[in-house]
Symmetry: C3
Subunit: 129 residues, 3 copies
């Protein structure tokens, strides 16, 4: 079912980030522009990412009817940040506003808007949410 | 499947609150009494609701056999509160203890008990959880 | 479907702990060794468990192909701790790395590794995560 496929995509996306497999992050997008890969390269070179880890908890998607074959969904999320010293904090909450397409049997994001609930965003934020 | 329908109902209920669409909140209930609408009206007039926003993360429902056509479920939840200045805190956790009925193909709550884990409840609590 | 069965198992496991039904905890394991029951007995006798309660939020499992009939899954979790005085804190986040088997129609854990994100684990930790 569609809701389940969207949930699986969300779960895999979150795992890739939480497992620090950022190189596979562009693969979740249909026709990823080079910007995504550049961002990952920059992250790796800056080594900023090593100071912390994330843990995503992703809720159930609310599906919307879309034009053509596109799938629209809105999905709540919560991200906990785990610092190297072991301290944890509630880093971000919000919702993903997504447009997805099926590419040869694989669901991918055509667009993912990450709408955070809080206006306070860590200015050094570099790891994708 | 039933578990999926219950999850969808939970997701829509949480979204309505998190999106500040409180006017649609009574619609999630079968035969809503006027009290629910009065509460929303009171909230809007008091403007209390503007000072903060919620983000619900709702877990998987555990279904119970019910008498007749009623559906019983117990579902864990977590609510983060986002204040206007951008600060976030863990506002509440607990479980929904629900009785639902199918009304012409739409699942609605006949009763929703919100059982919070903590005895510390914000005394100004007005927005439904 | 398999993902749904795994989710249901996770939901029931989390509920048993959050409802303080620790005596049913060994039942979630295939061929539970006596150690699990001993641990619960020790917890009850020590009365440590009474000082706090947990609330689990469990994410969607990512399924892996397994040898034979075994099912492998990795599932993110978040645990909030609620102290007796009503205060709450983010207690742990991480992922379950599970091997499950079907025993006469019931899915049970053959092995559950609880991998916490943080190295800071409460040294008095006794209640299973």
């Amino acid at each position: 079912m569609l809701a389940e496929r969207v949930s699986q995509l969300n779960a895999e996306y979150a795992r890739a980030i939480d497992d620090d497999r950022l190189e596979s992050w562009p693969d979740f997008f249909a026709d990823p522009c080079g910007m995504l890969k550049d961002r990952v390269t920059a992250l790796r070179e800056a080594n900023i990412y090593e100071r912390q880890a994330y843990r995503h908890l992703v809720g159930l998607p609310a599906l919307r009817a879309g034009a053509g074959d596109a799938v629209h969904a809105e999905t709540p999320f919560l991200v906990v940040r785990v610092m190297r010293d072991g301290s944890m904090d509630l880093f971000a909450t919000g919702r993903y506003v997504d447009t997805m397409v099926d590419e040869g049997g694989t669901l991918r994001f055509r667009e993912r808007l990450v709408v955070c609930d809080s206006s306070r965003v860590d200015t050094l934020l570099a790891i994708p949410l």
